[in-house]
């Protein structure tokens, strides 16, 4: 049974990338970019999460079903937020 477990080299690379992104997000947070601050921060967070999911959690060569499960989890969270905000942002 070999389920593509990430090798130590891959792990270390990903770890370094994650730290790099952490540094970037802390630095960027100190600069005033208006609304872009939030966008950049979230984009970085999503990237980091993807790195963890794909490499540390070995989804990159997991079965299709696993990917669907992961995706639906996040999709449903987005749905919860989106429909609630559809109310909150449009209240008179």
């Amino acid at each position: 049974m070999t389920h593509g477990v990430a090798s130590p080299r891959v792990c270390l690379t990903i770890w370094a990338l994650l730290l790099l992104f952490t540094a970037i997000t802390v630095v960027v947070a100190g600069i005033d970019l208006g609304v872009m601050n939030v966008v950049v921060m979230l984009a970085i967070a999503v990237t980091k999460a993807l790195l963890v999911i794909l490499y540390f959690m070995d989804v990159r060569d997991a079965p299709q079903l696993t990917r669907i499960v992961v995706a639906s989890g996040f999709a449903w969270f987005v749905l919860l937020v989106a429909f609630t905000m559809a109310d909150v942002l449009t209240r008179g």
Binding site: T66, W76, L80, M85, V88
Partner: protein, 216 residues
């Protein structure tokens, strides 16, 4: 290893492959429920943040970014050691496995200690929501909302860490007795998935809670 892991096969499965598939799918489905569990709490953050952007930005100044960053690094590193644990188990390296599991537990504990220190600090500053909440700046009520959300999100996150450390302790005990082999290391993989998930939650909480008001 002599039995190729066969003694781990439960009576109702056909073979180990099917059993592993079931465990892995089960874990992923469980993580989806966790996403929604945190998701509900995160929704309160999103709604109030959208409505009281300034108050939230100001309140976030009362969080310690240095400690937050430190903890982020700690947790990311613990994810690394966790990933290496999974690899060690799959590569039949028992000593490395024990070492990596210990490291993960240790890093997790460091995270919790730092978090505890931050909590204690908030407590002294009267920034814990409730009857004793005192807030120096404007928008005290909205700031109180921020701290409610902060404590709830980080609180359930910390609770998950505690559970994770418990699971790691169990793995450690079994790993020292050589329970995990290349043929069968499902529990290590499953706890690994859980631990990485907890890490991912923090990857979002850190910028959302600590960094939103940095530039203002």
């Amino acid at each position: 290893m002599a039995d190729g892991g066969a003694r781990h096969l439960a009576h109702h499965f056909e073979d180990l492959e099917q059993q592993h598939q079931a465990a892995s799918l089960g874990m992923w489905v469980f993580l989806v429920t966790e996403v929604m569990f945190f998701g509900g709490a995160l929704l309160t953050y999103v709604v109030y943040r959208a409505r009281y952007a300034d108050a939230f930005a100001h309140a976030s100044h009362h969080l310690d970014v240095t400690l937050g960053t430190f903890n982020t690094v700690v947790l990311i590193t613990s994810s690394l050691t966790m990933a290496l644990s999974v690899w060690s188990a799959a590569a039949d390296r028992r000593r490395t496995l024990v070492g990596m599991l210990s490291a993960t537990m240790l890093l997790g504990s460091v995270f919790l200690v730092v978090k505890g220190y931050e909590y204690a600090h908030k407590f002294h500053e009267h920034l814990v929501p409730g009857p004793f909440f005192r807030y120096p700046g404007p928008d005290a009520p909205e700031a109180e909302l921020f701290f409610s959300v902060y404590f709830i999100l980080t609180g359930i996150h910390a609770l998950h860490m505690v559970i994770g450390i418990g699971c790691l302790a169990y793995l450690l005990l079994r790993a020292r007795r050589g329970a995990f082999t290349a043929a069968w290391s499902t529990p290590v993989e499953m706890v690994g998935l859980y631990w990485h998930f907890v890490d991912i939650v923090w990857i979002f909480l850190f910028p959302l809670l600590y960094l939103i008001g940095r530039h203002a």
